[in-house]
């Protein structure tokens, strides 16, 4: 099967998606191809089952939660713009669309720092959403337990898990309400180089 040459005209709303998410032209083409490959019945959108078919995702203990993040507000389908929007959260800072940047103007120091801070907040938000299932803005002890249980399966006893959950919540909880709010969460992660750990380098 020969490869097909395609350009941006093939992707509906290609330009607006590019501007919104910041993916480069080539990356967007790749993701479109990937979207089409996952959409086996050529429906034009992805359902939960399409994503569940990915073998390596099904073995990921957090696989189901990750799939959930593609379907906000209880929707059952995700179209290509939605797909790209979620993946854009994991795009590293450097992979900016070079066409929209002006190469002559040097980047002011402030804005670089701001950008990094935005990145950090974005990264934390992604992780936070995986913990906070009911979206109430806090990670309760119960939710912490649930995620832990997902990650270890049946290998750890309930008691050990509860200990771990209690300890973690205590360490992060500052206002003593027994749950970890988003601010507390970001504080405890501040020391780590989280942007690197959560971003995916796409080959040019």
């Amino acid at each position: 099967m020969g490869s097909r040459s395609s350009h941006a005209a093939v992707i509906p709303d290609g330009d607006s998606i590019r501007r919104e998410t910041g993916f480069s032209q080539a990356s967007l083409l790749r993701l479109h191809h990937r979207f089409r490959a996952l959409d086996r019945n050529k429906k034009g959108y992805l359902s939960r089952m399409d994503l569940q078919q990915i073998g390596a995702l099904a073995v990921n203990p957090l696989g189901d939660r990750i799939i959930e993040s593609f379907f906000p507000d209880g929707s059952q389908r995700v179209d290509f713009p939605g797909f790209v929007r979620v993946l854009a959260h994991f795009r590293p800072v450097e992979d900016e669309d070079t066409e929209t940047q002006d190469p002559k103007k040097p980047e002011p120091l402030n804005s670089r720092r701001n950008k990094l801070h935005c990145e950090f907040v974005r990264t934390c938000t992604n992780a936070f959403q995986l913990y906070d299932l009911d979206r109430d803005g806090k990670i309760s002890r119960h939710e912490m337990l649930q995620v832990l249980r997902l990650m270890v399966g049946v290998q750890v006893t309930e008691e050990q898990l509860e200990n771990i959950a209690d300890r973690t919540v205590q360490e992060a909880d500052e206002d003593g309400d027994g749950a970890v709010s988003f601010v507390e969460f970001t504080k405890s992660l501040e020391k780590m180089d989280v942007e690197q750990k959560m971003s995916i380098r796409i080959l040019k």
Partner: protein, 431 residues
């Protein structure tokens, strides 16, 4: 007006003559040598010139795309993500290390950031994963003009269809009357397969032919398309094992059964492993019967990797002769995605590709050792085949093409992670 008439008849005559000449040439150069297994260097020349044309065409296309300022769709064979080959443990340790300044022995058991590892891995697989890649046709880095040059396209397809038609004719005319003469039928089989091979303009290189399978053994090979069968059968005599197909394939299968003892199964029967094993054992123990040809992956893979072998054929205890088949994808993609299109469409695609170029390696025979079970033996054979053919040796199941993944794999991941966060705890509580 009437001046044209004598010209017309002249042209018709010329056409007639040229067609006859063409056909005789075809006969002489292709069918006769096919019968005797001799080949000319014509096909090698053909291959070389094709390669040159492809390289030139790719350059032209890239230049053209640059002028118009369009992005060319460049496929990557290795995926789009820059992956670091680190394990779960290493990655999580690194995530923790980058944050805390504590010494490593005091590392706490669980950190909120551990989740990052799983999250990122998950997103990466959504963008690109090893398995789904294997089930879509292998992507080429350069064009091979398969849907572009109309003129050549027409010419080649005509020639090939003619040849194939002849092959089918001869096969049926010979097979039916000769169904009681085993020697003749073997010979005819070989001949027919060779004709098929020529018809597909297949250029096959056989390596290590001294290791070819013998009677009473099982021949095991990786599977990309039904053409694998033709390729192997044109170089030796085999009994086939496979699932019964409907349609055109079914007709061919039934014709083959009349001439030679083969073993055909319904796909549902295959699930009853004992039945299958019994039939195979019976066949193998009869030393006069031909070696069985089995494709243990269970389905067609796109020829960049070898998937997990089903253990059934390895339980029988006969000698296994592994064979590695590797197609050169530049000349035509032999991969058959049976969930995408049926047999006839597939054959058409094969007929109209430039050529089918592949290499076949016969590996030395292997037997199951005393301390090995069937699964380990199967994996050993699989690694040997993968290594020889330069294919990636995957642990994944070919069944993933159609079904979901088994839970055992998820448990592996969970076990690894739990060791990290609880392993220390156990030591502490003991002391």
């Amino acid at each position: 007006m009437f001046l044209l008439l004598p010209f017309d008849s002249l042209i018709v005559n010329l056409l007639g003559i040229s067609l006859t000449v063409l056909f005789t040439l075809l006969l002489v150069f292709i069918i006769v040598p096919a019968i005797f297994g001799v080949s000319f260097g014509i096909r090698k020349l053909y291959m070389k010139s094709l390669l040159k044309i492809f390289a030139w065409a790719t350059l032209r296309m890239e230049r053209g795309a640059k002028e118009k300022n369009h992005q060319l769709y460049k496929p990557y064979t290795n995926g789009i993500i820059a992956k670091d080959p680190t394990s779960l443990e290493e990655e999580i340790k690194e995530i923790r290390r980058s944050g805390s300044s504590k010494a490593l022995d005091n590392t706490p058991e669980f950190e909120l950031s551990d989740i990052f590892y799983f999250c990122r891995k998950g997103m990466e697989t959504i963008m690109d994963d090893e398995v789904t890649k294997r089930f879509s046709a292998e992507e080429l880095e350069s064009w091979n003009l398969l849907s572009r040059t109309n003129y050549n396209f027409q010419y080649i397809s005509l020639r090939l269809t003619v040849l194939w038609g002849l092959g089918v004719l001869i096969r049926y005319c010979f097979l039916l009357p000769l169904r009681f003469k085993e020697f003749m039928s073997k010979h005819v089989h070989l001949m027919c397969y060779r004709i098929c091979v020529r018809a597909l303009t297949a250029i096959i290189t056989y390596h290590d032919r001294e290791n070819r399978p013998r009677n009473g053994g099982i021949c095991v090979a990786n599977h990309t398309s039904p053409i694998d069968v033709i390729i192997l059968a044109s170089d030796g005599y085999y009994a086939m094992v496979g699932q019964v197909h409907g349609g055109l394939m079914g007709v061919i299968q039934r014709a083959m059964v009349k001439a030679c003892p083969h073993v055909w199964f319904e796909r549902s029967e295959v699930k009853d492993r004992h039945l299958v094993a019994k039939r195979l054992t019976e066949h193998v123990q009869d030393k006069s019967k031909l070696p069985i040809l089995i494709f243990p992956e269970g389905t067609c893979i796109n020829n960049t990797s070898v998937m997990m072998f089903k253990k059934g054929s390895f339980e029988i205890g006969a000698t296994v002769y592994p064979v590695a088949i590797k197609y050169d994808p530049q000349f035509g993609d032999a991969f058959w995605n049976s969930s995408k299109y049926g047999m006839v469409t597939y054959l058409l695609r094969m007929m109209t590709s430039w050529a089918i170029v592949c290499s076949v390696w016969y590996l030395p025979p292997m037997t199951r050792e005393a301390d090995e079970d069937a699964v380990q033996f199967a994996n050993r054979v699989k690694s040997a085949i993968a290594r020889q053919g330069g294919l990636v040796d995957l642990l994944w199941d070919g069944g993933l093409k159609r079904e979901k993944v088994k839970d055992t794999f998820k448990e592996e991941q969970q076990k690894l992670y739990s060791k990290m966060i609880v392993g220390n705890h156990k030591d502490r509580s003991r002391s």
